[in-house]
Symmetry: C2
């Protein structure tokens, strides 16, 4: 660390300063800043961080201080933090928890991180069905001392912990005090199962406009609640993963400046090399047409234009379909509706590009000097190839995400570069076949 920056910190950071610069600091700088602020503010700041940052702070603290910090967290957040540390160190952190939390955290760690069970908080407000509204309110006033996140709803359970109904705080507070809880609770419940995927869960939240959803097991026992704040993270993370995959790399799983440069290169070089190896097929394909290029070098001039038009239209189509699939706007069985839409779109857009390409050659002042006496036939070749290549790119780009979903792979892997690479070889084949058809006897 440079001496300049060290002295900068000696000016004592405020919590807002730290928050502002947090994501740009190295770990040791973070810790220094973190220790520097007032304890109460530090606790609030710590609670506002995401699990990976919380885990780093806890790991860097002296053993004696760790206990207090990890006990600040609700069980679901503690479980998230513990999942961030290397397997061999997890037990040490679990041992720092109090007995009740330890039991809950161990139970949570058994769930996959991206399922409802792994996102839920096992602590929630519960009531018996036969208490009165007045008793319920008095009981809840005593209950609310603990770290109960998301107390917008109170859940009504029977003695065997079966979920019977739900009441919002608002409904409870405004209900006549002499009624019983079961008379006013809502029994038409939206619930999630423990193994519901987080993407499906986030769609459930959006569709229902709820702040929290209860998680139940197969027998209807309530296991915990997932709250909307967890879902915001999920929505943002899933979009980030999709975007990074669409760009043609693996998901980074860390902020850009936080991930090590070699780790980042590793995440990018794999796909880049795979794409490169596939793209090598273009040189084999062109070798096949080498004699035609030799006899009409002018054909080579349009190779990048033709294949990039296929790649661009394919990228458009694939990203639109990937996003619609991941938002749940499209389902697997809608593929044929998409197919016909993209068929129309591909033909029209191919027609537009073909016309522009045709006019560009035919109306260019020095057309005969550059393209030779057969410039009109050449223009027809380019136009015809463009229609074919754009249509083909659009269809491949829109159908590939469905194929990947069908194979249980991530549709987002149909990245812009991947689709472009796929379309390049076929684009060349289309181009040279159209050229052979139109230019036979003149240029070829």
């Amino acid at each position: 660390m440079s001496p300049r920056r060290k002295s900068y910190f000696k000016e004592k950071l405020s919590i807002d300063d730290l928050r502002e610069i947090w994501s740009f600091l190295s770990l040791s700088e973070c810790l220094e800043g973190f220790k520097d602020i007032d304890r109460l503010e530090a606790e609030e700041f710590f609670l506002s961080l995401e699990a990976p940052d919380q885990a780093k702070i806890i790991q860097c603290l002296p053993e004696a201080e760790r206990r207090a910090w990890i006990r600040l967290l609700a069980p679901d957040d503690a479980a998230d933090v513990i999942q961030q540390v290397p397997t061999e160190e997890r037990q040490k952190l679990i041992d720092l928890l109090d007995d009740l939390s330890r039991k809950e955290v161990v139970a949570l760690l058994a769930y996959a991180e991206d399922q409802a069970g792994g996102l839920m908080n096992p602590q929630f407000l519960r009531l018996r069905p036969d208490v009165s509204v007045d008793e319920a309110i008095r009981y809840l006033r005593r209950q609310t001392q603990g770290s109960v996140k998301g107390m917008y709803y109170v859940y009504v359970l029977d003695a065997e912990q079966h979920l019977l109904g739900v009441i919002s705080f608002r409904e409870l507070l405004s209900a006549p005090t002499d009624k019983t809880v079961q008379e006013i609770m809502k029994t038409n419940l939206i619930t999630a199962t423990e193994n519901l995927d987080q993407e499906a869960l986030s769609r459930l939240f959006t569709r229902q406009g709820l702040m929290a959803i209860p998680v139940v097991d197969e027998e209807g026992h309530m296991k915990g609640i997932v709250t909307l704040d967890d879902i915001v993270h999920v929505v943002r993370e899933e979009a980030t993963e999709d975007i990074q995959k669409i760009g043609g790399s693996e998901a980074l799983d860390a902020p850009y400046l936080h991930i090590g440069i070699f780790k980042m290169i590793q995440k990018r070089a794999g796909w880049l090399t795979a794409l490169f190896l596939s793209e090598m097929l273009t040189s084999n394909t062109l070798a096949h047409y080498e004699a035609k290029i030799a006899s009409a070098v002018v054909l080579a001039l349009f190779i990048p234009l033709i294949i990039s038009s296929g790649g661009n239209s394919g990228s458009q189509a694939s990203t639109l379909v990937i996003r619609a699939l991941s938002l749940g706007e499209l389902r697997l069985r809608d593929w044929w509706r998409v197919f016909f839409r993209e068929l129309t779109a591909g033909l029209i857009m191919g027609g537009i590009l073909g016309t522009v390409g045709l006019l560009r050659i035919v109306l260019w002042p020095t057309r005969s000097a550059i393209y030779g006496p057969h410039y009109f036939l050449l223009a027809l070749t380019i136009a015809g190839s463009l229609v074919g290549v754009v249509l083909w790119g659009t269809l491949i780009g829109s159908m590939l995400p469905f194929v990947l979903r069908r194979l249980n792979l991530d549709p987002a892997s149909a990245s812009a570069p991947f689709v472009a690479t796929l379309v390049d070889v076929s684009g060349l084949i289309i181009y040279f076949n159209v050229a052979t058809l139109i230019l036979k006897g003149t240029l070829l």
Copy 2:
């Protein structure tokens, strides 16, 4: 509508059926299904829809029924719905509201839709600072009958509506009943100004881990609250826009199957044509090198391989940087950190592809037959060009989003196809210059 589908609906849809198929129905089918379900369930379903769907339903209902439905909505949601209808029809809907809501909705309509003021709900729970906890709870029990969304916090205002502090329901319920509100309220407040952009607002929510944020004007008067459920929509919508732009089209602003086919083509054809026109520069560039291609046709075989490698590495870099900028992980002044990271990454990844390319040519069994006696020099040309093109693509891809942000344009417009197109021309220039350097006196 086909008779088959009509009879399907006559079986009486349940609310869950309707929810499941909702996004796949045409508007008239939606309405039919909507009218078919129980009134209470219909209300709940209506409230769970997004503003564009709510607006469509209201517009299709007979005038007499509209009033009841629009009055179901909280003022911020009503304002969203009104913003969905054509300008000339807005006043009619506004007139259907009760006096208080009408005033609030008109005030909300003055804000831009993507600012805190446009997202906020002007109704919230408020208390005077000098009431006791016990009085406050009794008061809130009477207050909670109305349509107050997001009652997780109660705001403490003075007589001039200045925001003084906040208490969560949890804190209020568990506080000693004889204290006054000002003794227990939190005064270290996170607030948003009315014109705060929704992207900045959503980052504020994530960083702070709050369920609601109060919106204040310049003098500290409280105007309303933004709740986390609005932010989930914002996060999802912004990601969708980014993804669609990264794929090289305009943002669709509607679900894939809901947008008209010609509207969709319009959103895509513009960019596609612009990219096509820029890509035409490649044919001018190649025309410049036509003599070289004629004397060494083998060079043409590698054109797609070289330019696509530049495009792919550029797409990777630009999408990573776009996402990091939009998550706030990177700021404008971080450009040089990114520059040096990408310089390293570009050199290493270029080195990897160059090596693979070199080996591919040198070790190919029929190398002399396809590539001629100078295959080793050719291999060196390809390898050298790959290092240059990948490095160049990576740098252009990573810097372009910063340039766009600096010009106050959307960094996401540095789409994969746009970067690829930019890099194609320069990639060709790099390739033919490296070729001239290495192959002079042999092939050229």
